[in-house]
């Protein structure tokens, strides 16, 4: 149990209002495009219209003649400095500016720098690139055909195959599937999506020739890691690089990778000795920066006649586009996809993934997702419904029979994870009760008799977040710890800095609440700063729901170190021994003499004015937290849909989301995260896909084609919680920001399939646009 502090202190569990909002509601945020430096010039990228083509010649002369143009940089120029390629965050490299050939539409070919952003765009139009089109590989299923064009001529291996990865017991799984009484098989394509935060990516690079210092204002979810990459790739001494990640207009994984535009901007500033700004347009953002998903998956579930699962086999083809620019822990080519056994107990499982190159934009990033967990959760939750259909069993009942029982935690999954804690049945029961499941099933039966289409979809997902323990998790070799440094000022106020970086999650508020909880200093007295690599301690950044599990933990531990020192000072001031003191948030009192006490503010003052002999002055601490395990948030989501037979349109009537993320720092903020993530899940289920035509033209490359739900399509979300603390986290929290995006797509799809199940429909691939449903209804003879 967490001791509840007073509202004035505002520790854990208080829905205090967000500190950051005061500047945002006044339009006084400071986003990258708001940075304006004296003498600043602008960059614009020339992009390839072809998906696969040889570059025969680039003529920059017409562009250079435009008044105001300062330079045009090409791949050949970068090659001279050894910078035409850069490492991706996952065992591959990527062209910064194309040399030799282009590999996807919208690939970066040249970088124009001009005094004015309009002039830069004008001049980019005038860069003449002579292309010779090559055969295009779009369908990953044909990537390994003998006549497929080999895309990556730079690699020694002359194949489009990137990796094969497998885990689990193949033989035992095959055997169990062969002998099973009931089987379910589902082929599910999790389409290519894009995080598309409302602010696109961009940067301002400012190289000061006099001091040799490079300052880069960058839309970065991981500023420290980016500094190290810049140092390693660019050869600049790391102390001379300062990354400032200012206010970020949403990230969702989009702002984890290093993009070619960043490198070009830095090179341009080094070359010109002036600040250079480059900001993506929305179309550039959707067409060239890190996409997510694009997993072609097959799941086979085997069960006995009572529905008890015996085995799961998963086979997946992963389309990574032209470069494997996944941003994920280095030992996991398919991220944490092996969480695909989900919330269910089973004796054995086997999972294999093959990655291939195609002529599409690079990526494979973790979009609001802890590295491929979304794909995994969607697949198992879809497969459960298909199995329920085969067994003619209620999908809730099938789940109940197979949940890992609450008393079996920590649970060792057949694919190698040790789940920290869970109580899946409790979460599902709450969701079923809240939505009135039994009545809804009755209503559905009656509606069916009348020929009306209504469906109920359940998803009882388990997530795996908070990467991660250093023995297993690193990115480019850097272990995935995270950090916090706290300083208490003489007047009892504090400043704390972390290695993470908020992009809307409200860290300035929630981290302050952790300090408040641990030290009793009111949250309003604690300033939080992130994102400046010159001042914040090193950390791997914010993504994969890792902030609370890692930096949040570091904050608590750093605060506890401060408390230990405060105890020494209090004992000195009160002239008692340390053991004679009791702590409650905000003060130490002498046991049995509660009137004799020292507040944390008094102690802080003494730390600078009257500290015990032999003790260092000051009151501060730093902690680099290496989590012992990941955390495993979970929940049950239930969706009710009605389908319009005339148009095929699906209306989400209700959606109940019960989440369990352990102990909560700020319930208001958690609910906000759930609302936002569910809305992104809704978009994925019904609206969004970045697809390509047969010659590799990107479809869905702007907001006209890649749809973001408005307030009108978005339903009211009904949220609730159960609370199963993480046993290994310092204050029992798990991550939560991504659960709704991970857990919801299956709930939406299950609901639509459920509405059509009596027609023999077992699966529909996302996005479930009205035309898809209408076609099914037509095919089944429901509409004429």
């Amino acid at each position: 149990m967490i001791h509840k502090t007073s509202p004035e202190i505002g520790g854990m569990g208080h829905s205090i209002k967000r500190k950051e909002d005061l500047r945002f509601v006044q339009g006084k945020g400071n986003y990258v495009d708001d940075v304006h430096l004296p003498g600043m010039v602008y960059g614009h990228i020339v992009r390839s219209p072809y998906a696969h083509a040889r570059i025969k010649k680039i003529n920059i002369e017409p562009a250079m003649k435009v008044p105001g143009v300062l330079a045009v940089i090409t791949g050949e120029d970068l090659a001279k400095a050894g910078l035409s390629w850069m490492p991706t965050l996952f065992h591959d490299k990527q062209m910064v500016l194309a040399t030799g050939k282009v590999l996807f539409q919208a690939q970066e070919v040249a970088f124009v720098i001009a005094e004015d952003r309009y002039v830069a765009a004008d001049a980019a139009e005038l860069v003449e690139v002579d292309y010779e089109p090559l055969p295009v590989l779009v369908d990953p299923h044909h990537a390994l055909d003998p006549d497929a064009p080999i895309l990556r001529e730079d690699r020694e291996e002359k194949t489009n195959h990137i990796f094969h990865w497998e885990v689990g017991d193949q033989k035992a799984t095959e055997k169990a599937i062969k002998g099973a009484a009931a089987k379910a098989e589902v082929h599910a394509f999790f389409q290519r999506c894009h995080p598309s935060p409302l602010e696109t990516c961009g940067c301002v690079a400012d190289f000061n020739r006099a001091t040799g210092k490079l300052t880069v204002y960058l839309t970065s979810q991981a500023p420290h890691a980016h500094r190290t990459v810049f140092a390693l790739v660019g050869g600049l001494p790391e102390q001379n690089i300062r990354i400032i990640s200012p206010d970020i207009g949403g990230g969702f994984g989009n702002k984890v990778p290093v993009y070619p535009g960043y490198v070009c901007t830095v090179v341009a500033s080094l070359q010109l000795g002036r600040p250079v700004k480059w900001i993506e347009t929305r179309s550039e953002n959707l067409q060239s920066t890190g996409f997510a998903r694009d997993y072609h998956m097959t799941a086979e579930l085997a069960a006995d006649k009572n529905g008890k699962i015996q085995a799961l086999r998963v086979k997946t083809l992963a389309d990574h586009g032209a470069f494997n620019a996944a941003a994920q822990p280095s030992k996991f080519p398919a991220g944490l996809f092996s969480i695909c056994t989900g919330s269910y107990e089973m004796p054995t499982a086997f999972c294999e993934v093959d990655g291939v190159y195609t002529n599409k934009a690079p990526g494979g990033i973790a979009y609001r997702c802890s590295f491929r967990v979304t794909e995994a959760a969607y697949l198992i939750e879809r497969a459960m419904d298909v199995l329920a259909g085969e067994l003619k069993m209620d999908p809730a009942e099938l789940r109940r029979r197979n949940f890992i029982p609450a008393d079996k935690f920590p649970y060792q999954s057949p694919l190698g994870w040790s789940y920290d804690s869970g109580n899946y049945e409790a979460a599902m029961k709450l969701a079923l009760d809240k939505i009135g499941y039994a009545e809804l099933r009755k209503e559905q039966e009656e509606k069916r008799k009348k020929g009306e289409l209504m469906g109920i979809g359940i998803s009882s997902f388990t997530e795996i977040v908070g990467a991660g323990p250093s023995h297993t998790f690193d990115i480019l070799g850097i272990k995935m710890f995270d950090s916090c440094e706290i300083r208490i000022h003489p007047t009892g106020k504090a400043i704390a800095r972390m290695g993470t970086k908020s992009q809307g999650q409200g860290h300035e508020t929630t981290y302050a609440q952790i300090v408040a909880q641990e030290l009793g200093i009111p949250a309003s007295d604690v300033a939080i700063e992130e994102g400046d690599t010159d001042t914040a301690p090193y950390g791997l950044g914010t993504y994969a729901s890792r902030s609370t599990p890692t930096s949040g933990a570091a904050t608590a531990i750093a605060a506890r170190k401060i408390r230990d020192k405060a105890r020494k000072i209090a004992a000195f001031l009160l002239e008692v021994s340390e053991e004679d003191l009791v702590w409650e948030p905000g003060k130490f009192s002498v046991k049995g003499a509660p009137g004799k006490s020292k507040t944390i503010q008094e102690i802080a003052f003494a730390a600078y004015t009257n500290f015990p002999p032999g003790l260092e002055a000051g009151l501060e601490a730093v902690d680099y937290y290496d989590p012992p395990n990941l955390t495993f948030p979970f929940g049950t989501y239930i969706c009710v849909v009605d389908i319009d037979k005339g148009t095929g349109e699906v209306k989400v009537r209700r959606f109940v989301a019960v989440d369990d993320c352990g102990n909560i720092i700020n319930p208001m903020i958690v609910d906000g995260q759930i609302h936002g993530g569910l809305t992104e899940g809704l978009a994925i289920a019904f609206m969004q896909e970045i697809s390509y035509d047969e010659i590799g033209n990107v479809q869905g490359g702007n907001f006209m084609d890649y749809l973001i739900p408005t307030a009108v399509e978005t339903p009211n979300w009904e949220t609730d919680k159960t609370c199963t603390p993480s046993p290994h986290h310092p204050f029992g929290a798990k991550g939560v920001g991504e659960s709704p995006n991970v857990g919801s797509p299956a709930a939406f799809v299950n609901a639509v399939v459920d509405a059509l199940s009596h027609l023999g429909v077992k699966h529909i691939d996302m996005p479930i646009a009205p035309w898809k449903v209408w076609n099914i209804l037509k095919e089944k003879g429901v509409v004429g």
Partner: protein
């Protein structure tokens, strides 16, 4: 490059003028010439509404207009909402009801809400959702934005404010 033209506007109560290229978008004029960066840019197809400002009392997406077209107009941006150091009820509502996360859509969202409340001081939930449907938010799922607008509507009804 066409000859520069003079643009004169009254923005947030202040007279401002500048010589600009005829093709300069209003949003760039506001952000870069007048240095009011609270008005944001989120797309290149007029869909997101992050650039929403009020022009002569009506909301416009300032990325879909040229600065020269605004010559002689009165403009209100997010920076003009605060008065005597006091937040506008909408600004307060967004803060109180957690109607924002990253804050990027917020200025545009607030101006669209303001236009809605001017037309309809007591909107239903459905009317609010339609009223802000030209503004995209990627973070909040809109639920708390609806509450923020309701908060402001109630407060403005009480105070008869602005």
């Amino acid at each position: 490059m066409a000859a520069k033209q003079k643009v004169r506007v009254k923005i947030n109560g202040q007279e401002r003028e500048a010589e600009v290229e005829p093709r300069l978008l209003l949003v760039h004029f506001i952000r870069e010439v007048l240095s009011l960066t609270g008005t944001h840019i989120g797309c290149d197809t007029s869909h997101c509404g992050a650039c929403t400002v009020m022009l002569d009392g009506k909301t416009v997406k300032s990325c879909t207009m040229f600065a020269v077209q605004a010559d002689g107009c009165e403009i209100l941006t997010i920076e003009g909402l605060i008065q005597d150091g006091k937040l506008h009820p909408l600004q307060e509502g967004f803060k109180e009801e957690h109607g924002l996360q990253c804050g990027y859509c917020t200025p545009g969202m607030i101006l669209s809400s303001l236009a809605l409340l001017k037309r309809n001081p007591n909107p239903s939930e459905d009317e609010i959702r339609h009223g802000i449907s030209g503004n995209l938010c990627r973070c909040t799922g809109y639920q708390n934005i609806v509450k923020a607008v309701q908060y402001a509507a109630a407060k403005m009804a009480q105070g008869g404010q602005r």
